[in-house]
């Protein structure tokens, strides 16, 4: 199982949890597993064919959009982080 860190903005959908568990050897499998276990959370992150535009998914610190997308591998005990996609820094 992989531990997925959930940002505050998505915790209501995760039943209040700061982190949830899911299984899968690729990002796609992981997200589909979340949709099955926690549909409210999964559907906020994944639309069935792609990661939703306002969410970033990081595997071991790397945004999967630049590291293979949904096919990016997820190793055993990887650190997976969900974050709102938002301009960083200050305005």
């Amino acid at each position: 199982m992989t531990v997925i860190r959930v940002p505050p903005v998505l915790r209501e959908e995760a039943g209040g949890a700061r982190q949830v568990e899911a299984s899968g050897s690729t990002v796609r499998e992981l997200l589909e597993d979340i949709v099955g276990r926690l549909p409210a959370l999964g559907n906020k992150v994944y639309d069935g064919s792609d990661i939703r535009p306002y969410v970033n998914v990081y595997v071991d610190g790397e945004d999967v959009r630049t590291s293979g997308g949904l096919d990016a591998p997820v190793r055993e005990n990887a650190t997976v982080v969900l974050l709102p996609a938002m301009a960083g820094g200050e305005r």
Partner: protein, 318 residues
């Protein structure tokens, strides 16, 4: 004393006609003490721009592109480096500038902008920077004298980096294997990355993303998030999340080992630059764009804090 550095008169240097002429042309310095063996990280010191940050380039480019008519004034939602840079450019170009910022922005930021001559309009503190953007948009829509530059969607932002930052790197280094910069508006990475890639087609363009703080983590809904229109993630080869502890460790190492006093976003950039340099073959050159100096952050707790994560966040997020 013969042979001592700095005693021989350097070749003739330019005499600037205006401080605006001193924006850009920042130096690159090799970080020999922080580079992995056999590779070299070069820091581009954007803190050496006139107001101490890379935003001087963006401000000048956006104001020039705006071509203000008589009677028009500049408006921007900002409490950060962009506001200070715009205030300098506005002052020297004879324009008025109004900055919209959350009412709880730090007193230092407010004072600095006022000293540079900007007018300040407060937006509701509880709405954060989204509230500042919304109020600025309302002001601009209601009053025709305001021209809102909005760096997140202004093509003059990446263009400043294509024509300046990137062109300078290409001029100064015969080969660049990786380019690392922080991800804010996306302007630095888009513009600099495009120019450096033209001369170095195999360059790895990498974004260093600090773990977001309260304003992002405190969003009430995902839809309140914002992806800047000028940012095209498909143009990035890597995008790496950097923890606060990693950023602070690197920014402290920059000062301790290289003598460079930089802002904390530069810590994230150097952390990623070291990671990527280690992955590249011997002989590789990595450019790390250090967006600003550390001077505006001297009151931040993290410089001395033992527990960095706690000192940088009111809440431990995970």
């Amino acid at each position: 004393m013969p042979g001592a550095r700095g005693t021989a008169l350097a070749p003739a240097t330019r005499v600037a006609d205006s401080l605006l002429d001193l924006i850009g042309n920042t130096p690159l310095v090799a970080l020999h003490r922080l580079s992995p063996p056999g590779r070299t990280i070069y820091a581009k010191l954007e803190g050496q721009n006139p107001t101490g940050s890379i935003k001087d380039r963006v401000a000048l480019s956006m104001v020039e592109a705006a071509e203000l008519e008589p009677g028009q004034e500049l408006l921007e939602p900002t409490s950060g480096n962009t506001g200070i840079s715009l205030a300098l450019v506005a002052k020297l170009r004879g324009h008025r500038l109004t900055c919209v910022m959350p009412a709880n922005a730090t007193p230092e930021r407010r004072l600095l902008l006022e000293l540079y001559g900007a007018a300040i309009v407060d937006s509701p503190a509880n709405e954060g920077s989204n509230g500042a953007v919304r109020l600025a948009q309302e002001l601009a829509a209601a009053d025709g004298r305001y021209v809102m530059l909005f760096q997140y969607a202004n093509e003059a932002n990446p263009r400043a980096h294509y024509e300046g930052t990137g062109a300078e790197i290409v001029r100064d280094l015969p080969r660049v294997d990786a380019l690392v910069a922080g991800l804010g508006t996306g302007g630095t990475l888009m513009g600099t990355g495009a120019r450096v890639r033209e001369a170095n087609p195999d360059v790895v363009v990498a974004a260093a993303e600090p773990l977001p703080g309260d304003p992002v983590m405190g969003l009430r809904s995902l839809e309140d998030g914002y992806v800047p229109p000028i940012l095209d993630v498909s143009k990035l080869d890597r995008k790496l999340l950097v923890s606060n502890a990693e950023s602070v460790a690197a920014v402290r190492a920059l000062l301790d080992r290289e003598g460079i006093f930089a802002g904390v976003s530069s810590g994230a950039v150097v952390h990623v630059a070291r990671k990527i340099a280690e992955e590249l073959p011997h002989g590789s050159a990595v450019v790390a764009v250090l967006a600003d100096g550390g001077w505006k952050y001297v009151s931040a707790e993290f410089w001395r804090a033992a527990d960095v994560e706690e000192s940088m966040e009111r809440t431990l997020w995970w």
